[in-house]
């Protein structure tokens, strides 16, 4: 492993962790609203949330590029007001990863919330607990397995993201190059040994993430 490879691994792992944490509050919020209430437009939101899962990642990337680019609705605003660029920067990577892994988190969390028996929440309420307290002491702990599972899935998805990232953030060495982009580029350049090194790291990271989640979720011994 050389310095460049470490930098890529480090950057990919960090930005994946960061994107998973960044989408956590939104993911839980949306999942909870979908699991517990029915409201007008719910099916539309349901569909939108799952869309990045089925749309080609490159298409999702293109949508983001259109919105976040300097001529896009949000991108032009950020550029004008704060001199902040998203496209072709690490922020672009973060947003691409977050959007692409959001469905996995939201869907897992939603299922986890749905599996929490509402009667337990009712009982807590009759004992005088407020909504926030019920959510924090009953709903969240009971759903925690599914939520953690969803977070690990989201993290793993972020680690491997390619299509949306290359559209929004490009492949700038030392700035936006992630593991997947580096593997692709090294194969393109015929630098197979470097590609294999990064491949090995991806396998170890993915294996570790899944193994950790299984360990977290294993049945507790009494």
């Amino acid at each position: 492993m050389n310095g460049e490879a470490w930098q890529i691994v480090w950057f990919t792992a960090w930005v994946s962790v960061l994107s998973t944490l960044a989408i956590l509050p939104f993911g839980l919020g949306v999942a909870w609203l979908l699991a517990r209430f029915s409201w007008p437009g719910k099916s539309l939101v349901e569909t939108l949330v799952s869309l990045p899962l089925v749309l080609p990642p490159v298409a999702t990337g293109l949508i983001l590029l259109q919105i976040l680019g300097r001529r896009g609705a949000i991108g032009s605003f950020l550029h004008r007001q704060f001199d902040l660029d998203v496209v072709f920067t690490w922020r672009g990577v973060l947003i691409a990863l977050g959007v692409m892994s959001f469905p996995l988190l939201a869907r897992s969390a939603r299922m986890a919330f749905e599996n929490v028996n509402p009667r337990l929440e009712e009982i807590a309420r009759t004992l005088g607990a407020g909504n926030v307290r019920v959510f924090c002491t009953i709903t969240l702990p009971l759903a925690s397995r599914g939520i953690i599972g969803g977070m690990v899935l989201a993290f793993a998805r972020a680690l491997g993201e390619f299509g949306a990232t290359i559209m929004v953030a490009g492949n700038i060495p030392g700035k936006t190059t992630t593991l997947s982009l580096a593997i692709f580029e090294n194969v393109q350049l015929g630098q197979d040994p470097q590609a294999y090194r990064l491949l090995a790291v991806s396998v170890v990271l993915a294996f570790g993430a899944v193994w950790y989640s299984e360990w977290l979720l294993r049945p507790k011994k009494r």
Binding site: F88, G170, L189
Partner: protein, 262 residues
């Protein structure tokens, strides 16, 4: 074990029929063996397509293209991609294939030359009169075809090194897959400037040429073409190469801004 019913057998049949249908459709859509497959540098997209269209009209020979960075195409040919002709944007990629014995002996010819230009978005107000302006603070990002591998990027880097600008420019570089992707990045306004071939700038309405690097100052740009050794129809490929070499094709290349080499 539930009993196997007629309905179940029926559904299995349906699945198999669907699979067979898909396979048949897919096979029918595959490349016809008689079509020629040309791997050509991205910068050749519009010109070679026009020339190939004329050729197909005259001879009935169908031609398919795979456009991309010459580095990518060379790599694909190394891996056994079924190319009949390789038309590269630099000699180095062709040299690489020739050394590996992947080029049909005696068919290689350097056909075209080109020059580099610095482009900005058509609505840009940046004042760029020479490559030195690329070091200005107002220019934060510069799109180049990947200078590590793609010819247009390597040519640009060579020029910027020669003019001692590279060390300042390098941190601003947004490397792209091929030269047309660099052009698109400038068109989108997401980078302030880019370096592409003069011929690429000429086909885009959304960019303007800020400054042209004269053929004298710039690196020597050369586009070689050759028949690929593993071509299954070398005669047809040679005939098409002859057409690319013809005066009629030369006129079309010139119209797109290429310099035709004799």
């Amino acid at each position: 074990m539930p009993p196997v019913t007629d309905a179940r057998i029926g559904s299995v049949k349906l699945v198999i029929q669907t699979i067979v249908l898909f396979v048949a459709l897919f096979a029918a859509g595959l490349v016809n063996a008689a079509d020629l497959l040309v791997f050509a540098a991205a910068s050749l997209t519009d010109s070679t397509k026009e020339i190939a269209n004329d050729y197909t009209k005259q001879t009935g020979q169908k031609i398919l293209f795979n456009f991309g960075a010459s580095s990518t195409l060379a790599r694909q040919i190394e891996e056994g991609a079924p190319a009949d002709i390789f038309f590269s944007a630099d000699e180095a990629k062709m040299d690489g294939l020739e050394k590996k014995g992947l080029i049909l002996a005696g068919t290689r010819k350097s056909r075209l030359s080109n020059s580099l230009v610095i482009v900005v978005a058509a609505d840009s107000s940046l004042q760029i009169t020479s490559a030195t302006n690329l070091t200005d603070v107002g220019i934060k990002r510069i799109a180049l075809a990947d200078p590590k591998s793609v010819p247009a990027g390597i040519y640009s880097k060579t020029y910027l090194e020669k003019t001692h600008l590279w060390t300042v420019v390098e941190p601003k570089v947004v490397p792209t897959d091929n030269v047309r992707a660099a052009l698109a990045a400038v068109e989108s306004g997401n980078v302030e400037a880019g370096m592409v071939y003069k011929t690429d700038a000429a086909i885009s309405k959304h960019v303007k040429v800020a400054c042209e690097i004269s053929a004298h100052d710039g690196p020597k740009i050369s586009y070689p073409m050759a028949v690929v050794k593993d071509s299954r129809q070398p005669e047809a490929a040679k005939a098409l190469l002859d057409h690319f070499n013809s005066d009629a094709a030369g006129k079309i290349f010139e119209r797109y801004g290429f310099i035709v080499l004799k």
